[in-house]
Point group: C2
Chain length 426, copies 2
Amino acid sequence: MDRVTSPDGAPGADPRIPAPPHDRSGGAAMPTVTMIGGGQLARMTHQASIALGQCLRVLAATADDPAAQVSADVVLGSHDDIDDLRAAARGSVALTFDHEGVPLHHLQTLEAEGVSVLPPSTALQFAQDKRAMRLRLSELGLPVPDYADLSGDLGLARGRLTEFGDRHDWSIVLKAIRGGYDGRGVWIVDDRDAAMAVFDEQFDTGVDLIAEQKVTMRRELSAMIGRSPFGQGAAWPVVETIQRKGQCAVVLAPAPGLDPELAAQAQQMALRLADELGVVGVMAMELFETVDGELLVNELAMRPHNSGHWTMDGAVTSQFEQHLRAVLDYPLGDTAPRSAVTVMANILGADEAPQMSMDERLHHLMARIPEAKVHLYGKGERPDRKIGHVNIVGAGGDDLASVRERAERAAHWMSTAVWTDGWEGH
Amino acid sequence: MDRVTSPDGAPGADPRIPAPPHDRSGGAAMPTVTMIGGGQLARMTHQASIALGQCLRVLAATADDPAAQVSADVVLGSHDDIDDLRAAARGSVALTFDHEGVPLHHLQTLEAEGVSVLPPSTALQFAQDKRAMRLRLSELGLPVPDYADLSGDLGLARGRLTEFGDRHDWSIVLKAIRGGYDGRGVWIVDDRDAAMAVFDEQFDTGVDLIAEQKVTMRRELSAMIGRSPFGQGAAWPVVETIQRKGQCAVVLAPAPGLDPELAAQAQQMALRLADELGVVGVMAMELFETVDGELLVNELAMRPHNSGHWTMDGAVTSQFEQHLRAVLDYPLGDTAPRSAVTVMANILGADEAPQMSMDERLHHLMARIPEAKVHLYGKGERPDRKIGHVNIVGAGGDDLASVRERAERAAHWMSTAVWTDGWEGH
């Protein structure tokens, strides 16, 4: 990878675009990385960048975005605007992402202008397009659930849906090819009529879908890895993810009782795929473990991911530091866990925001669970919105049930200001 | 503690002073803490503040100060200027410190205006004034090295120095009462003539001194604690500090082979002193362990301290998070170590800055020692200047010698771009 080190010589530099607010080329002279999107992933990447002697530059929509609240180097603008993207990239050595929403053609334009886009558009397209991803995975011989492409001509697509649904006894899921996340863009349907209704409605609004078999699974797993441009790969232990309302709620690290061979297979699949696609940065491969003990690839994310938040306190190197190391072509950090068990629980906005302030809730949490590691995102509370997370790293003698109970109890308290038994499954 | 929660109702608000650049009263509405001084301690406190849903406000001399490079909430000004201090305090719930250099009368003025200064001036004065500190410690029955006050009338002070020097066979140290740190303001003298020369020179420039016996010591220790306004105290394990050129170079956590009774005594001394003085925040009590196995108090710092940097990776709660918890009157976090041994080594500016850039040095370090946790401060390289530190947290089976060797090797590399055996003492 060629690094752009001189702000003046930055590719695509446009004299009409003002220089970023902080030119850090003097003094310590560490490289600047730009992240597109000002969400919590950028916020936590900024935290990691501080230790590496950097300040993360963030392209944020508003000054109140989670990352814009805390970074000294914020470019306000839109990820849909090529000039804003250029302004954010100027003088930085790599452009990377807090989300998958940047139009691919803009990234291709930036690449043509010499910007180091990481992961590159040739890789990122597979994280943006579920149909392309499934096609590519199939070509590579990686196991995916059976699926059908429902894009294109209305009549032909309805025919493919009917054929696919019949074949799977209408135990199917419909997914938007682009733009879905955290349960959005996913429809679990129980019969033909429901499936056809979703299909027709989405067709009318121009949303392309795929149909996918509903997998009879034991649980969901996530294999997170990092990959540098040099081709170095590093995998964290495979974790179990527990979904609620279609989004990640709890992560158990490592996945309890996972067959070591299956764990190694998941890591190797993720590392191999990252190599084949040329991914740079961290990547989450979300997997189904079927009741038969098989793995199927569900989704890909080529950025820090909710299933990797446990690494902030539970691993030697966090996913955020690793992402920076990778996009800077630094050698990757140690992915060893610090403890036999770490549990992450998301703090989600409650259906009705509690009367008690977040500040006061945090105060009470600290009194009850002094070992809880809390990470708040500076976001307003809306139902089911991810506004923070709690990690509990097991200490000597702690079993999974105890760690999980505390993590879930802590997160539930922070969401609702109600103490409950955190988790009744043990 | 009364909290000031309304920016408009902030005490001492002066309509001539512009509001701070980021009013964060909306949205997530977590409290704002202001730290006076933009050095590395503020930089790392900002990192910790992000997890707590905050953004640390920093009063910095320049936009290039270590903390000003990374925080979104920077007030540029001087810690010597009461109006700058007022501007920085406005709308924040607590004013705290990256260094001891703020004039006491300014803090008293702010307190009179209702600003929550933490630690309060009544405590901080003892960290600013070595003579007052020794007097107070003696009153409390805490062990200090023998000392003599050399302030006041020239003739009388010379007489006290002569008497004190003779009594200790001129095995003494002279220290400036105010303003010394990292070896500055400390003179180790070997005989009467050298002592008199230092005394006369400092007297002429108006610097008040004390003389202190040179302690025949086994080693130096540091007991770090946190204390909240509510009076909760929490102590980390006592560490051994290794000084070079008069400043902290290496920290071994916990202090190897320290008698558990002596360790408990050191913690209790620190907790008791913090209580007696009304300290709020974290405090380092630097101690001598004499060859007879006695403890003597050397210095106090009422802020995050170099001897606590190991906690960033080696303890459940870092000193920076704990300092924020304390000044916000949150319950304190778990001070348990994550490992049987953690070693911190400072990265110091080399006598001649290496040709190889810091970026490139970091690259090589990561390749050699993937488990090293590096913390860089964004400071220019000058001889013996603290520009970063490395923590190595021991993993299962690592012994102290191995951990220390890697930490020192890593720090020496980052300083000089030369690989050596990190530490030849094993």
